[in-house]
């Protein structure tokens, strides 16, 4: 930092919250040339569930804006260039900041890994390493290798598709040259900084910062040049020298074969034997571990090859929205990992309806949902196994001492489930008020991530639309969900007569691993009876 030029940095997307790795830019709140202050909102971003406003963490003048409305941006990705700022929290290290200054025009726009300045130099054969993929991402599984040996690699060309625990990313090249050797393959788990390719004749950025692992050469291998003197005596034995030992894996050939057949990279299997020797059992244990830790859902959604729909007429492909994608993943996981049972029942809400109307008159309009939430809150206290989660890795059931109930809300963006916290401590009227406010926020896309987390039980009321019954899917990691369909007047045979009663159909899905069938029936009966005698509800307590 020796000259007086304005310091050029980049504003990068900061951490947004737990498990949020990316979002879609819905609005850019600044433009090139704007002077911004720390704390000023610069970006509106739609993530899986919420729309967030992203504040700047520094002062400065906005330079080139590197994203546009509709772009999907990842945590750590450069959003815009920033001039005249002091060192910021969003730039991982001061060293990195320094390098921007050297040659900022060479900065590629959308790749956080290429934060280093570019000083080119020709090198014969070099290794390309996996660049930093984002904050807290250390490794990923190669899902696709997008280039092959012999390809002429262009700078910025996507070379790999890699799946991290947060997202599937395409990894662009920071170098150019002829691909000589591919050191990884699809299915391999690779770490940031691990060599992935060897390329020849490339021009690559020299590594100028040690702070961030770069996609650049670190190891320079010399090309063996064969010199053949006219009449010389090179030894014939050079050809007898065994090929360099490939991977140094202490596993018998039969064990390596087993791993290969199971599609497991033997290099990743921890060996339990002397000297780290890997046994058949080690391979099997590793395989089992992969199967139990990998979420059961998700993959099954797209695993079957699709037919060519255009055979039957024209079709249109549309990218899933973030909410849709998250819903698909989440529900696939819930559906495939939870053994569901759905118990149906009908509750006589004739009395409840009278009560509801009487209160609605004096107060504002109250729907039936707050009453049901209140009853469920009481039921969860009475039946604690309905307020639990299962930890299969430790084989434990987790019982919760708090009662938070999620309510499925239909919005134009898709299904959202905001959560009412500590409903057991709220009155029906409070619940009603909170519910109205929450639904309003959801429709205005103002629901925060926090508001959608921490649920114990979910209620899905489709009665406003219609239907007689349905089988709701449990909102994992919860263990039960109550579905409400449309109530209707039915003739109920009581004391020798048919009496018209307002009957509300309920559908209770529960996780059979933790809840037995009899308990499921008891739970829904208890709920029905409580709703049938609404005077017992402590509306104001």
């Amino acid at each position: 930092m020796t000259n007086n030029k304005a310091i050029m940095t980049e504003f990068k997307l900061p951490e947004l919250g737990e498990n949020i790795s990316q979002g879609t830019v819905t609005k850019i709140l600044v433009k090139s040339g704007d002077a911004i202050k720390k704390g000023q909102n610069v970006l509106e971003l739609e993530t899986d569930k919420a729309v967030l406003e992203v504040p700047s963490n520094t002062d400065g003048i906005v330079g080139e804006i590197l994203v546009k409305s509709g772009s999907i941006v990842k945590v750590g990705q450069s959003i815009f260039k920033l001039q005249g700022s002091s060192s910021t929290a969003s730039s991982p290290t001061p060293t990195e900041t320094k390098t921007f200054q050297v040659k900022s025009e060479d900065q590629p726009s959308a790749e956080p890994a290429k934060a280093a300045a570019v000083a080119s130099g020709p090198i014969d054969i070099m290794e390309i390493k996996l660049p930093a993929l984002g904050e807290n991402i250390e490794k990923g599984t190669v899902t696709k290798v997008l280039v092959k040996v012999g390809d002429m690699l262009q700078k910025g060309q996507n070379i790999l598709e890699i799946e991290t625990d947060k997202a599937v990313l395409e990894v662009p090249s920071s170098s150019e040259g002829l691909i000589k050797e591919i050191l990884i393959k699809a299915g391999a788990v690779i770490k940031v900084g691990q060599p992935i390719f060897k390329i020849e004749g490339g021009i690559v950025p020299q590594k100028t910062t040690s702070a961030v692992p770069q996609a650049g050469p670190v190891v320079k291998t010399t090309v063996p040049i064969e010199t053949i003197a006219p009449v010389s005596t090179p030894s014939s034995l050079s050809s007898l020298t065994p090929v360099p030992i490939r991977k140094d894996i202490p596993a018998a050939p039969s064990v390596r074969l087993l791993a290969r057949e199971l599609g497991i990279d033997i290099a990743l299997v921890p060996g339990s034997g002397p000297g780290g020797r890997i046994s058949n059992n080690d391979v099997k244990a590793y395989c089992k571990m992969l199967n139990t830790t990998r979420p059961a859902g998700g993959g099954s959604v797209a695993s079957q090859p699709l037919p060519n729909f255009t055979k039957w007429g024209s079709v249109r492909r549309e990218a899933m929205s973030n909410v849709r994608r998250k819903t698909a993943e989440h529900l696939s996981h819930a559906w495939s990992s939870i053994p569901h049972v759905t118990q149906f029942d009908k509750v006589d809400i004739t009395e409840l309806e009278k009560l509801r109307k009487s209160i609605s008159g004096t107060h504002k309009k109250i729907s039936v949902t707050p009453f049901i939430i209140k009853v469920i809150a009481l039921a969860l206290k009475k039946f604690p196994q309905f307020n639990s989660s299962i930890d299969m890795t430790t084989q434990e059931t987790i019982f919760k001492d708090y009662i938070n109930i999620g309510v499925a809300v239909d919005t134009d963006r898709g299904l959202l489930v905001p959560v009412l916290k500590n409903v057991d401590k709220m009155t029906v009227l409070q619940i009603s008020d909170e519910l109205v406010a929450m639904a309003e926020r959801a429709k205005l896309r103002k629901t925060t991530i926090e508001e959608m987390q921490g649920g114990c039980f979910t209620i899905s009321n489709l009665g406003g639309i219609g239907g007689t019954s349905f089988t709701p899917i449990i909102n994992w990691p919860e263990v039960a969900i109550l579905g409400i369909s449309r109530g209707s007047m039915e003739p109920i045979y009581t004391d020798g007569n048919f009496v018209p009663k307002l009957m509300l159909p309920l559908s209770l899905s529960y996780d059979h691993r933790v809840i037995d069938g009899a308990d499921g029936a008891r739970f829904i009966r208890w709920v029905c009876e409580a709703l049938g005698q609404p005077t017992s509800l402590e509306l104001n307590k």
Partner: protein, 470 residues
């Protein structure tokens, strides 16, 4: 197109015929295209097998001579070179004829001729009778092997041999120069020495058997120095000229000083080069490296997905046992199995006297890779069996990982070293640690005990070696 095969194997050396036989056993329709009348390749016709036949003879003669030391004296041997040649031929024809029978028994279609690719699914065969036939295939395996490298600009002379002509055993020259101190030169030099030639060796590098660890090669050097008439290291051949009695060779030593010597015959054994030309590979997507090898992946599949390549043409080391292993990998891969060519150790054996063998990591490799290793050596002077053979110059060494104590490499020099190295291969492939070799009971009295005792010495104590405490 007159015929179609699931698999066509081009070249029936140890790689090619192993591949073809396995493919047939797996139920594929297989054809072999091969120049010779029967399978066998260089290995059987003019390589491993004939050279080992002669080396056996050389060993008997040497041992008979050596028996003098025990008080047993034989008169000088009479050598009937024609009978010796016929015996070698009978060994070769027995083996290759047997392979021909195995080919027919497996219902493999055998084309004697030369193959050339028309495209990635079709070959043209020029048959031995001069006619042509087109063959369609789903997969092909290139197994065309290698041939001796030649020194350019040499005079054309019947007195300049390569390994093939040397194994013809046309005559026994009085003076023989071996150009190249590698394994082929040292093995054939040994044969001709025992048959009565005065053998000289010229080698450009500072030692014999470059690539082998020095402590192993030095044992051989010490012995052949006393047997051969001259071993010229760090010396280049500058020129060869014919003269009425043979060849006049001009050498340059390491200081560039030139000198001349006359020999009846010169054996050029400076290496081998892959046979990747004249195969019509330009009509396929197969890629060839600047050194003439065919590029292959772990399954030995070339850059043309229909075509595989195995053996010498697929890269170093050019060894029959590597080729046949690759052949089986390629066929299993074609059959849809998930396999890979991933040896941890490929054994190398030099059948000189004494033999030299090694596998896995060498000290040279470890030094190149900057890898820390512990090397333990067991000198055969402490072996009872070596003493009974009166051959105590041998050495057994282990290369061990200091952290895991795993056996990474093994090297042996001494009589029978070639047969002993297999234990090292299994140990390395199985991921054995030094304790495993130490705790496995080895039979007494054999030379294999030296491996067990060497593993013991890794732990600082070996029954037959006393090491003063530091």
């Amino acid at each position: 197109m007159s015929s179609f095969f699931q698999l066509v194997v081009i070249g029936a050396g140890p790689g090619g015929y192993a591949a073809a036989f396995l493919a047939a056993d797996l139920g594929m329709e297989v054809a072999i295209i091969e120049k010779e009348i029967n399978p066998g390749g260089v290995c059987l016709y003019r390589g491993c097998i004939p050279s080992k036949a002669f080396l056996h003879v050389a060993k008997i003669m040497n041992e008979a001579k050596h028996a003098q030391a025990f008080g047993i004296e034989y008169s000088a041997p009479k050598i009937d070179i024609n009978k010796l040649r016929d015996w070698k031929k009978s060994v070769v024809s027995k083996l290759t004829g047997g392979l021909g029978q195995l080919t027919r028994a497996r219902k493999i279609k055998y084309f004697q001729g030369e193959a050339s690719f028309i495209n990635s699914n079709t070959l043209k065969v020029k048959k031995a009778d001069g006619s042509f036939e087109e063959i369609g295939f789903k997969n092909a395996i290139l197994a065309t092997g290698s041939r001796p490298s030649v020194i350019p600009n040499l005079p054309k002379s019947p007195d300049i041999w390569d390994s093939t002509t040397a194994l013809e055993l046309e005559n026994i020259p009085e003076n023989l120069l071996v150009v190249g101190g590698g394994y082929i030169g040292m093995e054939l030099g040994t044969v001709y020495h025992e048959l009565g030639s005065k053998v000289s060796v010229v080698e450009m590098t500072p030692g014999l058997l470059p690539g082998a660890d020095r402590d192993l090669a030095d044992v051989l050097y010490k012995r052949v120095k006393t047997l051969f008439s001259k071993i010229m290291l760090e010396t280049k051949v500058v020129k060869m000229e014919t003269n009425p009695n043979g060849i006049t060779v001009t050498f340059a030593d390491k200081d560039g000083k030139e000198f001349k010597e006359e020999y009846n015959k010169v054996l050029v054994s400076i290496g081998r080069r892959p046979n990747s030309e004249n195969l019509g590979l330009e009509n396929t997507k197969v890629k060839i490296t600047p050194r003439g090898f065919v590029e292959v992946n772990d399954q030995r599949q070339t850059t043309d997905p229909n075509i595989y390549a195995i053996g010498d043409i697929a890269g170093d080391p050019m060894l029959a046992h590597k080729a046949s292993h690759e052949g089986r990998v390629a066929v299993e891969s074609i059959a849809g199995k998930r396999v890979a060519f991933e040896p941890q150790a490929i054994p190398a054996v030099v059948f000189t006297d004494p033999e030299i063998s090694w596998c896995g990591l060498t000290e040279i490799d470890a030094a190149k890779a900057g890898r820390e290793v512990i090397v333990t050596k067991f000198p055969w002077a402490a072996s009872g069996r070596a003493l009974t053979l009166d051959r105590t110059e041998g050495l057994t060494k282990l290369i061990i990982d200091p952290k895991t104590q795993r056996v990474l490499g093994m090297g042996i020099v001494g009589v029978g070293a070639g047969d002993m190295i297999a234990e090292g291969v299994v140990a390395i492939e199985m991921g054995a640690v030094a304790q495993d070799l130490k705790l496995s009971i080895h039979p007494h009295p054999t030379l294999s005990e030296t491996i067990m005792e060497d593993a013991e010495s890794f732990f600082g104590h070996s029954t037959h070696i006393y090491k003063p405490k530091k």
